[in-house]
């Protein structure tokens, strides 16, 4: 009786479980779909009619956009075009500091007598924590046809409801375009051509330095009216940080290469081409560029300096820059005003901003780091940006006024 009541039910359940597990184990082998099959299925949807070669693992990183982990080559036999499928991973600029991995199809096409590279298709392979990715899926006509010769701008119509995921997708598209242009040498590469033209005018260590491209998105203040900042390059020469700027002035390329330094006395223009105007020089010399905030202008009267600083966007909930006006008197912050906010939905509350700003008043270089202790709750990312802006202004003041208080 005990066997029938207690043992038999368990035995039957166990036997059913074992048989089911066995059946599933066999079927798992029979029905297994390999990564190669998944890849060719994805390609047949977004770029049909092409047979791809084996996938090649690569490791390419761009600090501004992200990284490329694999590339698969093919030739569109019908059109004779060279095609690359690039697996691109964005930096962590997505929602909740997550990222997006894309398959980006780049192809070379003949246009106006020259070969250009363009985005032919893309699809989402994977993502980390992008809960609104469903709003993007199926709408991957965005960026198709975009020329990879230059940075590909964010498509504003794809951001509604999934702004940060869209930003991550834009980063992944751009790193794929950068790889195709710089490494795979697809299409034209005006950035590399501009760098060569700039370096050809330099001498000594400045000519042999290793320049890397830097995004111009956060330094539009370097381009006065009537000019466009096409490219910016960065290099280290000895202990000096050097920036090379390539401008477009009425269709002609102009170059400015300068040593970036917090102290105005150390800042100098190393090279400028003939068409560089006084306004361009002034914009460069009144600027101090740093990783997290840029001083874009300084007005000094006696012991008081008024700075306009752009606190640069960072990963997290603040995808836009903050512009602030910082008045520093005798080495301490006398006033701190936010003139353009990076505030967006999911951003900090106004109350939190009102808590951070008063805490910075009176801070010096020595005390600014601790000024925001326990004042950042609910606005951590905003605090980081505003603190960077305050620190850059104070560092600039100290460098030009004989050291920290």
């Amino acid at each position: 009786m005990a066997f029938k009541n207690y043992v038999l039910p368990v035995v039957v359940l166990l036997v059913i479980c074992i048989v089911c597990v066995g059946v599933l184990a066999v079927l798992n082998d029979v029905l297994y779909v390999s990564d190669e099959v998944k890849f060719s299925r994805a390609m047949s949807k977004i770029y049909p009619g092409v047979e791809f070669d084996a996938q090649e693992k690569v490791s390419y990183k761009n600090a501004n956009y992200g990284e490329v982990t694999s590339v698969t080559w093919a030739k569109d036999k019908a059109k004779g075009e060279r095609v690359a499928v690039i697996e691109a991973l964005s930096t962590n600029v997505g929602f909740g500091s997550g990222n997006v991995t894309l398959y980006v199809v780049v192809k070379e096409v003949a246009k106006d007598g020259k070969t250009v590279g363009e985005i032919a298709a893309w699809s989402i392979k994977d993502n980390v924590g992008q809960s609104y990715i469903g709003k993007i899926d199926g709408a991957n006509k965005w960026y198709v046809g975009a020329d990879i010769a230059n940075e590909i701008a964010m498509q504003s119509n794809m951001t509604a409801g999934a702004t940060m995921t869209s930003t991550a997708i834009n980063m992944a598209i751009n790193v794929a375009a950068d790889y195709a242009r710089s490494v795979a040498e697809m299409g034209s590469n005006p950035q590399a051509e501009a760098l060569s033209a700039m370096v050809a005018n330099l001498t000594g260590d400045y000519a042999t330095a290793s320049y890397t491209a830097v995004s111009t998105a956060n330094v539009t203040h370097l381009a006065p009216a009537g000019t466009t900042l096409s490219y910016m390059f960065n290099a280290t020469v000895g202990a000096q940080e050097v920036y090379g700027l390539v401008y477009d002035v009425n269709g002609a390329q102009e170059f400015v290469v300068f040593v970036n330094a917090a102290a105005n006395s150390d800042k100098q223009i190393v090279y400028k081409s003939a068409g560089v105007t006084t306004e361009m020089e002034t914009a460069v010399l009144s600027t101090y560029l740093s990783a997290n905030a840029n001083v874009i202008s300084v007005v000094t009267e006696g012991t008081t300096s008024t700075y306009t600083v752009v606190g640069l966007k960072q990963a997290g909930f603040v995808p836009k820059n903050y512009t602030v006006t910082v008045v520093v008197t005798d080495g301490a912050i006398a006033s701190f005003d936010i003139t353009a906010s990076g505030f967006v939905s999911h951003g900090p509350s106004e109350d939190a901003t009102l808590t951070i700003v008063p805490a910075l008043i009176g801070a010096t270089s020595a005390t600014v780091d601790s000024a925001l202790d326990s004042k950042t709750t609910g606005a951590t990312e905003t605090a980081k940006i505003l603190l960077s802006a305050a620190k850059v202004a104070l560092a600039h003041y100290d460098a030009n006024n004989g050291g920290s208080n």
Binding site: L8, P9, V10, L13, I16, C20, L27, L31
Partner: protein
């Protein structure tokens, strides 16, 4: 012992009289979530029908072997196995449908229709009847989902089975609120029609009885 249901009874119960979606209001989760397009409704219905038929057959075969105390865990294991099988089959051979069904596919395991039929029918009836019950319940489920999918796709996307019909669309029908609204409308229409048919049938029976009485 209750009498063995006939083919006609099983078929009518599955598709109409006991329609799992429109009469019993079971399987609501995929009904609301997957009827934005006709093809996803059809795909979900077919997948659920496969699991229904297979699990009904196996449970019916084992009905005298499975002890009453562990019947529910046994049913779940069997249903989960067939759900995994259908998932593998779709991924291997119908990847488009697999992508469309997404997370709803593994959720077939907890579909009330399947466990409900295992418990109320397959565990008490012979294999043939159980297989037919699975088939017709599945057909009823598929029919309801596909019809809802057609209505929502036509109104919400101006297309049918992915083929564009016109540019006009009412986006409300493609959204979750539209799913509830359409589901409510379907249940209302289905109930109205079945009540009318029932009333007509009762009236006919009464007339026949009255005529018989008068004749006697």
């Amino acid at each position: 012992m209750s009498k063995k249901p006939t083919f006609k009874e099983i078929a009518l119960d599955g598709v109409l009289r006991q329609n799992p979606v429109l009469k019993l209001v079971l399987g609501t989760c995929p009904t609301l979530g997957l009827t934005t397009a006709a093809i996803s409704g059809l795909g979900m219905g077919a997948a659920a029908t496969f699991v229904l038929i297979c699990s009904n057959i196996l449970i019916s075969l084992l009905r005298n072997v499975i002890p009453d105390k562990v019947r529910i865990p046994c049913f779940i294991v069997i249903i989960a196995t067939f759900t995994t099988v259908v998932r593998g089959l779709l991924e291997a051979f119908l990847p488009d449908i697999y992508d469309v069904l997404g997370t709803f596919l593994p959720l077939i395991v907890v579909n009330c229709v399947i466990l409900g039929r295992a418990e109320s029918f397959a565990s008490k009836n012979p294999v043939g009847s159980s297989a037919l019950d699975g088939l017709f319940m599945g057909l009823g489920f598929t029919l309801a989902l596909t019809l809802m999918g057609i209505v929502r796709e036509v109104l919400g996307a101006g297309a049918i089975f992915g083929t564009a019909l016109w540019n006009f669309k009412i986006e409300f029908f493609a959204k979750p609120a539209g799913a509830f609204f359409t589901y409510g409308l379907f249940i209302a229409v289905f109930t109205l029609v079945s009540n009318a048919l029932e009333a007509k049938k009762s009236k006919k029976k009464a007339v026949v009885a009255e005529t018989a009485e008068e004749g006697a």
